[in-house]
Structure formats: C-alpha cells, structure tokens
C-alpha cells in the first residue's frame, strides 16, 4: 500500500536533479565573488600599508600611495549624496504618498526605470554637456558629483518608494481618519517606519557611486593630481579612475599596485554594504507589525 510506484521514483529523480541544478547555479554565483576577493587579497594584500593609504603617489604613479584618490572618492561620493538624496527622497515621497494613479504618474515611473537603464557613458556625456559646459562648473568635483547624482537618482527613488510602500496602508488610514494631513502622516508615521529601508538604499547607492568610472572621467576626475582637493570646484583623483590609469596607461607600475587599489576600493564598497546590512538588521529588529 505504501510502496513507491514507478512514477514516485521518477518524480524523486527529477526532484533531485533540479535541486542539484539550482544548487550548482548558486555555487557558480558565489564562485566569481570568492575568486575575485581571493585574487585581490593574495596579489594586492602585500601592497596595503599605512604608507600606501596615506601618502601621495610618487614616480609617475609607480610608487608611493593613493591618498589623493582615496580622499577624492570620498569627496565625490559625499557631494553626490548631498545632491541626490534630498531630491530622490522627495520625489519618492510624492510618487508614493501624494500622486494619484494616472497617466502622468505612470509616465514618471517609466522615466525613472529608463533613467536607471541609461549606460553610464551616456550619463558621462550628459554631465559633460550639462554641468561642465552649460553650467560652467568646469571639470570639477561638483560637475562629476552631479553627474553621479543624476545617475544614481533612480536607485534612491526606487529604494525609497519601496520602503515607503512596506509601511502598511492601515497606519496611514488610521492617521487620515483622525484628521492628520498627508504631511503629518508622513512625518510622524510613514518616515520613521520607512527610514531603515531608505538608509539602506542610500548606502547601496554610495557603494555603487564609489566604483563608477565613466561618469567622472570627463567631468571631474584627474589623471594625476598629487594634492588634495580644497573645494567642490577643484578637480580630483578618484580610486576607480586611478585603478584604470595605473592598469592601462602608465608603464612600469609594480604589479601589486593595481591589485592593492582594487582591494581598497572593493573593501570600501563591502564595508559600506556591511554597514547597510547591519543597520537594516538593527532597525528591523525594532519594528513589528
């Protein structure tokens, strides 16, 4: 009565097969990440030292450290954040909390998705035309950061909107039914509950921004500039471009240097992602519905 039939055995075999297939694909996914990290640590690890992180490049970038690029990347990311976060969060608030569901709103949503799909080199050319030339910011941190901001805006908007939409409608209804305006509802209930998701989105954006090369190439990042930027209208070196330059444009760079730069860059990104995840776990633990 309870013996397996032929069909049962066949089902079990197929079941096992698919399980194996999916497991294999998952391993394939992890493998490149592990390999990249492994190679970077193995080959770039020896390059890392206090000196490497905190001194100027020397000898045509074949020796010395990466301080101007490190500081430059921080500048670029921070200014890009200052430009994109307020705009992105405000736009997401409008789209999620105020906008009626009509053709215009749908068109805006479509535009945001398309903006996310624009190749970064196109953003670079846009930034060159708009910020460097038209607004006369010159090649500067400001122009480069604004280009990065435009490029990452969709990420901020989508992340913010998604986290706003995880706040149950019941909370909003409760507020509206007590005579609260939309803004009172947003400020007192929706934002406090959505803030963890918004911050996560922002931090992810930071990590994405810090690795971008194309958008800053024409707009503000310098090939070689062995001093630190003094303000947003200065040009600067940046980690991503520096990596590109010493890997392809400069002869006689010791082999461990590009790997070292890549390791520092990826560590920055991973550290920020780690913070983001820790933060999300912390804030999630506090909310319950």
């Amino acid at each position: 009565m309870f013996e397996a039939t032929v069909q049962n055995r066949r089902n079990r075999k197929v079941e096992g097969l698919f399980r194996l297939l999916f497991l294999w694909m998952t391993c394939m996914l992890i493998l490149p990440v592990a390999l990249i990290l492994g190679v970077l640590v193995y080959r770039g690890g020896p390059a890392i030292s206090w000196e490497f992180l905190f001194t100027q490049p020397l000898n045509n970038m074949t020796a010395g450290g990466i301080l101007p690029a490190l500081v430059g990347t921080v500048w670029l990311v921070v200014v890009a954040l200052i430009a994109s976060v307020p705009v992105g969060v405000a736009a997401a608030l409008y789209l999620s909390e105020y906008a009626p569901d009509n053709r215009l709103t749908r068109a805006i949503n479509l535009a945001i998705i398309n903006l996310a799909g624009v190749p970064s080199i196109v953003h670079a050319l846009f930034g060159l035309g708009a910020f460097v030339i038209f607004f006369r910011f010159g090649t500067s941190i400001l122009a480069a950061s604004l280009t990065l901001a435009v490029m990452t805006l969709p990420v901020v908007i989508v992340a913010t909107r998604e986290s706003l939409q995880t706040v149950p409608l019941a909370f909003r209804e409760a507020c509206w039914n007590m005579g609260a305006t939309r803004w009172q509802t947003i400020r007192k209930i929706v934002l406090p509950n959505a803030i963890s998701g918004i911050l996560t989105g922002v931090i992810l954006e930071v990590s994405r921004t810090s690795g971008e090369t194309a958008p800053i190439m024409f707009t503000g990042a310098a090939f070689f500039l062995p001093f630190l930027p003094q303000g947003v209208l200065d040009q600067t070196m940046a980690m991503s471009l520096h990596l590109f330059v010493i890997s392809t444009q400069v002869p006689d760079v010791p082999e461990h240097m590009p790997f070292g730069v890549a390791l520092v860059l990826i560590s920055m990104v991973l550290a920020m992602n780690g913070i983001s995840i820790a933060f999300r776990v912390y804030l999630r633990g506090r909310k319950k519905w």
């Binding site: 009626p100 569901d101 909370f171 209804e173 007590m178 007192k188 319950k288």
Partner: protein
Amino acid sequence: MTEASSAAGFTPAAADASAAILIEKLNLWYGDFQALLDVDLRVRAGAITSLIGPSGCGKTTLLRSVNRINERLGYVRTTGSIRLWGLDVLDPSVEVAQLRKQVGMVFQRPNPLLLSVRDNVLFGTRVHLPDGRPPNRVEGDRIVEEALRQVLLWDELKDSLDRRGTELSLEQQQKLCIARLLPVKPRLLLMDEPCSALDPAGTEAVEELIWKLRGDYTILIVTHNMAQARRASEECVFMLLGEIIEHSDTASMFLNPANDQTAAYIEGRYG
C-alpha cells in the same frame, strides 16, 4: 445651511437634536459602478445603529461616506446630502480635518500606530495642535488616563504605557484604537466590523465596551455578524445592492422583519 456653510471650520449646530446623521438621496459611484442608490437614513443620536447586509451591499461604502474617507480614491462621485447635526458634510466649505475630528473611525483590523500606548492615545490631540506645542506631561497623563479608563484598559495598561501599541493583544489593540479617538472629543464613532479580527472573548469584551459607550457617542457599526447586530445594537439597518431595505429597532427587525428579503438574510438563506 448658508449660515453654517459660511463658518470657516466644522462646528456642529444643534439642528435636529435627535438625529446625529441625516442622509438624503445619497447616490455614490465608483467610476461607472453605482454603489449606493438613493439612500435615505436617519441615525438617532446617542444610539448604536448597526448596518447589516451581504458582502458588497454598500454598508462599508455608506460608512466611509460619512467621514469622507472614500474621497481618497479619487474616482468616487457622490450626490445627495449627508448631514451631521444639521450640517452638510459634502459642502465644499467643510474642513475635512475638523470633520474627522468629530467623526472617529474604527477599522476591521486593529491598526494601532507603531508608537507607545501613550503616544497612540495622544496622536489625535497632537495632530490638531500646532507643532512644538504638544500637551504637557501632566495634561498628557490626564488625557491618556481618561481615554484608557473609558475603554476599560487603564487597569491593564497603566504600568506599561511605554509599550508599543502593536505589541498588545488584538483585543487590547482594538480598544486602544477606540481610545485613540476619544481625546479629540468626537461625537460620532464609525466602526467597520470592529470585532471580526478578534477571538470570541475579545469580541465579547469589545462589544461590551461599545455598549458602554452608547449615549456618550452616536455609534454606527457595520457588521457581518447577525448575532452581534442583535446583541450590540439598538437600531438595525438592512442593506442590499446599494439600497436600504429596512430600518427599524433591532428587536423588531429580528423578531418580525417587515421585508421578505430581510427575513431571508436574517435566517441565513443568503449572505
């Protein structure tokens, strides 16, 4: 109406003192679909009136028209009049925030805010005060105690006012949601199946509370639960397909309904 319409806010006048709600020729469309057809209804002040009828008959729509929360949907069109204490709430001069202060609403699923019990109770008060001028500590304590006593929660919760509203039991949550409405002194409470998410004990407790609140507040309650309508309301309105079929006091509706459709519904032949 002209005199009242010219007032900036929404201040109830004592027109027909025995009618809290007077609805006349109310028609309501969701897009092309007409959900309410020529509804006339008079709700007695200080009484509990229950709205019964099968799903989709327009009970909730009618309830949600009274505090104009339906309008949020954008594609809703309404004709006719809804008067609360003599004032037409559909009048363009009505300040919706003031209307909703006078008309509290309780939902099917308890929806306490993700705040402490204390802040939940004070939320309504704060919404209607200028920023940075919340009730002070003493005043706030008094408001919280009074509201929680009214909903019979004070003894249970007086030592845990800092707990989150969402951590309470469902019964306590629903009582808290009622308590939250009281500090702004509403005169009408709308309840949309307030017990349907609760277990039998919770249902009984909340029904008792609703019964206790009658007199102080006019209560309009939507329910799917025949026994509940019978136990916990004084007047009963039976709706079918967007129309009011019968309206009478609860006892006589359940003992000898005037209409065959009412009888059929009450006996459980459909719904």
